[in-house]
Amino acid sequence: MSELVFYLLAAITVLCALGVITRPNPVHSALFLVMTLFMLAVFYIILEAHLVAALQIIVYAGAVMVLFLFVITLLNLKGDPDEPAHPLLRIVAYAVAATLAAGVAIVLMGDAGVVPGGAGAGAVLAEGFGGTRALARILFTDYLVAFELTSVLLLVAVVGAVVLAQREPVAEAPLTETGEDA
């Protein structure tokens, strides 16, 4: 029964993900992405990782995606780009991607322990698994370094965003006036 639910949800997730990359309208793509992220949250719930599921919805499906939509609207990116990709390029790209996906799928299917119902199934979860306390404990012990590093990474990203987004005061950059080769 649970396997059937899993495959059903998985199929929906993959279809949504395909929607992200096939829709010509960027707003539609973004909405499909929201759907995909939601579906992932559902998986987390199935795996009894409740906190992660909640965070997934709040942070990704919520905050991040809203920002995405804002940017898309601001940039007025509607419809097809002016110069569509060469059809041959498109075909080649699909073919390569499909072959790669198929190859990976074959390997994963052929190897017990990765697909559900394999070796990992039926493992007994520790008490309180997926709760805030368990997550906090592991985050501040085993994964302390990774956790702190992530904060550094975000700091770098913030600095970078400010640097790139801020307009240049013209007086400070005399060189911009001379320009470059046309």
Partner: protein
């Protein structure tokens, strides 16, 4: 319900292991704040502060005699060695950028803290004994470099380089993460110690090999190996020259350091299981890099392809997989950093009407206008070609010798033939400096004297330092070679 323990540390943690990283991040934050409140219009002082910080970290980042650990961070001979290399090379690249940032269109002071963040990220990559932590270090470094590449804000090329590098880098990172996830599925951990055990009696499982292959795709992108190298020429050319110099040396060294520790040392089975594809990639990388460099008119782009070619030589060490080859790789990285920085520094000496001059033809007449700089450039080019007794020669001898020792004769033959081919374009630079003066003046071009920036002491000093390092590494390689061997011997379990 027990309260959380007050001691929030991973088991067996020793603060000494993370101190170099903490110093590095602290320095980056300090410089970030200092830059904000810097009272003067010129930010050279921030640059000097950055250099001082880097030199201090190079000293503080040395390894204790006994390796110490803080969870997934190791401070052993290997990470100590890499700390020194990354910081010293970065310090030299900052020294040469003091005079050249503005002419290259970099007007913002965040250059310095971002560069420090990138170095710190590189240090994490070299020290990480866990794939996730290594990946976070890689992303920290990459994020900083994406922005650095776009710091010539007024220049379209710089913006484009930044965006291109970011998009493709994110794409490559996805492969790497997928690979890490697959390895996790097999080992049950992302700890490097668990990776060696993945090779059982009958070799590795298909999923393990797939994971390792995807991990290598990510590394292949960062080190610019064929066929993942296409971004390199565009990004190198578009980025402001001081940033390009940093990318070609520090970023490459950090990526190779992580590749060494995470793949070569932790997954010794990779060299065996993926031998043929790695062999082909190494040979293709050096050949494509050299052939493409032959036709370049832009010095920067030529150096970009030359960098691809040298990635090919370095990748041979991964194919060989022996500790001698790995030590030779470390040595090669140091020699390569010195000669490449020298070449970039001389290029930055040139400017045409306030814009950087980056074509090989712009070098015409430098031999007369700036004999010392031209001599330094000659030394660097000859070293890149592999002419004895310079650093590049000793690096090639020890690397090729180690690969030969591991039994890859054909690969060494390919490499030797490639380095013959490379003579043609490195020589073109020397020829331009010494022999092309009269031609260009006759053709109405500006004479070299008008293209050389007015006196730039910091840049001149950095040129001389780089050339001196190339010569010294060549004449007396033993200390550096010995230290790189010791660095490898210190990695636990190898």
């Amino acid at each position: 319900m027990n309260p959380l323990p007050l001691n929030l540390l991973p088991p067996g943690a020793d603060y000494a292991a993370v101190m170099p990283l903490l110093w590095a991040f602290a320095a980056a934050v300090l410089v970030l704040i200092a830059e904000m409140f810097w009272p003067y219009r010129s930010r050279r002082g921030v640059g000097w502060l950055t250099i001082a910080a880097l030199l201090a970290i190079a000293v503080l980042g040395r390894a204790p005699s006994e390796a110490v650990y803080f969870g997934p961070i190791a401070l052993d001979g290997f990470s100590g060695w890499c700390n020194g290399l990354l910081c010293l090379v970065a310090a030299l690249s900052v020294l040469m950028s003091l005079d050249t940032l503005e002419v290259n269109g970099v007007t913002r002071g965040e250059y310095y803290p971002l560069l420090l963040f990138a170095v710190a990220g590189g240090m994490v990559m070299a020290a990480a004994t866990d794939l996730v932590v290594m990946f976070l270090g890689l992303e920290t470094m990459s994020m900083a470099v994406y922005v650095l590449a776009g710091m010539g804000k007024a220049r379209r090329r710089s913006n484009e380089a930044s965006l291109k590098y970011f998009l493709l880098g994110a794409f490559a990172s996805a492969f790497m993460l997928y690979g890490i996830a697959l390895l996790y599925s097999q080992a049950g951990s992302t700890d490097l110690a668990a990776m060696a055990g993945l090779a059982g009696e009958g070799g590795t499982s298909a999923v393990t090999r797939l994971g390792a292959a995807l991990l290598l795709v990510g590394f292949g992108f960062k080190i610019a190996a064929v066929p993942f190298h296409l971004w390199a020429p565009d990004v190198y050319e578009g980025a402001p020259s001081p940033v390009t110099a940093f990318m070609a040396t520090v970023v490459k060294a950090a990526a190779f350091a992580a590749l060494l520790r995470s793949v070569l040392l932790a997954m010794p089975w990779v060299a065996g299981e993926l031998q043929t594809p790695l062999w082909v990639a190494a040979a293709a990388t050096m050949t494509v890099g050299n052939l493409a460099a032959l036709r370049q008119r832009s010095l920067k782009r030529m150096l970009a392809f030359s960098s691809v070619a040298h990635t090919g030589y370095l990748a041979m060490a991964v194919v060989a997989g022996t500790s001698e080859a790995a030590a030779a790789l470390l040595f090669y990285l140091a020699a390569y950093a010195a000669m490449n920085l020298g070449a970039f520094a001389v290029m930055m000496l040139l400017a045409d009407r306030g814009r950087p001059a980056e074509n090989i033809s712009d070098l015409a007449g430098l031999g007369r206008a700036r004999p010392l700089a031209a001599l330094a450039m000659t030394v660097c080019m000859l070293s890149l070609t592999g002419i004895p007794p310079l650093g590049g020669f000793v690096a090639k001898v020890s690397l090729f010798g180690a690969v030969l020792d591991a039994g890859f004769y054909t690969l060494v033959v390919v490499a030797v033939l490639n380095s013959v081919l490379s003579a043609a374009y490195y020589l073109g630079v020397i020829r331009a400096m010494y022999f092309d003066d009269a031609d260009s003046v006759a053709a109405g071009g500006a004479s070299a004297a008008s293209r050389v920036l007015p006196s730039r002491p910091a840049l001149t000093v950095s040129i001389l330092l780089a050339a001196l390092a190339v010569v010294l590494i060549g004449l007396s390689p033993s200390p550096l070679l010995g230290s790189s061997l010791r660095a490898l011997a210190s990695v636990a379990g190898f």
